[in-house]
């Protein structure tokens, strides 16, 4: 029963974080709520026995990507998000639509795939196997992703470091260079 308990706790934390992301006005808050979501997800992975994934999740996602986000938010010093009046239609259709949709999906999932139960740590653990898989069965995708990352890096560098393409206020200049 411990698993169920832990699962539901962190599940709720996840959902709360996600909702918070939506509700929050200031991006920094939503960023942090996202970090919380990722943390709880890491725990979920642990529950599912995928330690390595959890660790990587934490390191890569929470550690690197979210830092990037926070970094950018800080860099751009984005202000509060101005609350615009949501259009009637969106409200009217949006919310009920989402609710119905999720309920439907949930019902379908719970109803149909109630088969497998997941044992904790049932996964053939050691990351060595994952490493093996990574470099044998999935070598090609691995290489492709590495190329992708390379491109991404180059893209990021070119885009971000393009100095003075546009006349900018002095304040930004020093801030950006910091």
């Amino acid at each position: 029963m411990l698993h169920l308990l832990v699962f539901s706790v962190f599940g709720l934390v996840c959902v709360a974080g996600a909702v918070n992301l939506l509700v929050q006005r200031h991006p920094i808050n939503s960023a942090l709520s996202l970090v919380v979501v990722m943390g709880s997800l890491a725990v979920e992975y642990l529950l599912l026995g995928a330690e390595f994934v959890a660790a990587v999740q934490v390191i890569v996602y929470a550690g690197a990507i979210m830092v990037l986000f926070v970094f950018v938010i800080m860099l751009l010093n984005a202000g509060e998000e101005d609350r615009t009046k949501g259009s009637r239609v969106a409200m009217l259709f949006g919310i009920p639509g989402v609710v119905i949709g999720s309920v439907l999906v949930a019902w379908v999932l719970v109803g149909h795939s109630g088969t497998g139960n997941v044992a904790v740590g049932a996964l053939p653990g050691p990351p060595k196997v994952i490493g093996w898989l990574l470099f044998h069965d999935f070598l090609l995708p691995f290489e492709v992703t590495s190329v992708l990352v390379l491109i991404a890096i180059m893209g990021a560098v070119v885009l971000a470091s393009h100095p003075g393409s546009v006349q900018q206020t002095s304040a930004q200049a020093d801030k950006r260079e910091g």
């Binding site: 942090l32 330690e51 390595f52 934490v58 830092v67 926070v70 970094f71 801030k175």
Partner: protein, 329 residues
């Protein structure tokens, strides 16, 4: 926890003494014999100081930031095994708080989270200096984290497992009698140096302590913090230092493996711990020593060094060790 905190305090003391001596001045001497009580005094001072919060600061994060930093710093210690199995009063416990078979990963994860503390602090204190400081610190930490991680991989390849305990066990025994089979001697010297530098950068220490460089950015991200919050940052920093030191000893200096066993069984049990402490102390001393002597890196030099030199070196090292392991196996 208690041990760690006192250790932190006395590292501070040690540092001030050593830096003082380096600059041929005495360290703190007045409070207690050889200034031993100085850290206590500082602690008290911090506690009693007025804890003011500057206006239109992003309140929630402003307060949370130091906490985050400290929390992550302390949790990373939990995974580090200090000693070998000891049987104390019949309890056969491994000398570590928890034994997780992906210890190293967890440590890495937590150190990467540590960045948040610094970043948020810088940003939430709503001043240009702190913002810049925070930006620089986080940028630095993020970029060096990679090389840190890569340098550790070398060791992993040798040990073959994430669990710190296994890594240390792998370093037992000696080469031809007298050279201990520490990773540092198993071809990991280069990795050790990379680790060393990355560690300094991670903890914003000396050569890389640009963020809190007094001269330029007025103590960087924790300029606006005072008293207790500042203390937290301070402690977080030193805690990180200790963690890193422990890691170094575990991974490179063979953990609790001493040259040879002597003394009675009781002493025998304590001996690994003793060795471990000695190594950690040595590493810390190295820290402080470097702090006292090396000049500070300019920011772009720092970043360039991090990306253009350290990272390729780490990758090269990784490749070489992989080759060695593959060839030997």
């Amino acid at each position: 926890m208690a041990i760690l905190l006192t250790a932190v305090a006395y590292t501070v003391w040690l540092e001030r003494k050593v830096v003082g001596h380096i600059q041929n001045r005495w360290g703190p001497t007045r409070v207690g014999p050889f200034g031993l009580l100085q850290p206590l005094a500082d602690g008290v001072k911090f506690i009693f100081k007025e804890d003011l919060i500057p206006p239109h600061v992003f309140k929630p994060l402003y307060i949370a930031a130091p906490m985050i930093a400290l929390i992550f710093a302390l949790t990373s210690i939990s995974v580090i095994p200090i000693g070998n199995w000891i049987t104390v009063f019949g309890i056969h416990t491994p000398l570590e708080i928890t034994d997780v078979n992906i210890g190293l990963l967890i440590v890495l994860g937590i150190t990467s989270l540590g960045v948040y503390g610094v970043a948020l602090a810088g940003w939430s204190s709503n001043s240009k200096y702190s913002l810049l400081g925070g930006l620089r610190a986080s940028a630095q930490m993020v970029s060096y984290e990679i090389s840190l991680g890569l340098s550790l991989v070398g060791v992993l390849i040798l040990a073959g497992s994430f669990s710190l305990r296994d890594i240390v066990d792998a370093q037992g025994g000696t080469f031809w009698g007298f050279i201990p089979r520490w990773n540092i001697f198993q071809g990991q010297i280069v990795a050790f140096f990379i680790y060393l530098m990355a560690a300094y950068a991670e903890t914003n220490r000396v050569p890389f302590d640009l963020p809190e460089a007094e001269t330029e950015l007025v103590a960087g991200y924790h300029t606006e913090y005072s008293a207790m919050k500042f203390a937290m940052f301070f402690m977080a920093e030193y805690a990180n230092m200790i963690t890193v030191a422990c890691l170094a000893t575990l991974l490179f200096l063979g953990g609790w493996h001493g040259p040879h066993r002597f003394g009675p069984p009781f002493v025998q049990a304590i001996l690994p711990v003793f060795w471990f402490v000695v190594k950690v102390f040595a590493f810390l001393f190295l820290y402080i020593w470097v702090r006292g002597t090396l000049p500070r890196f300019r920011y772009d030099q720092l970043m360039a060094f991090g990306w253009k030199f350290l990272l390729p070196l780490a990758i090269a090292n990784l490749v070489i060790t992989a080759l060695i392991v593959a060839l030997r196996a």
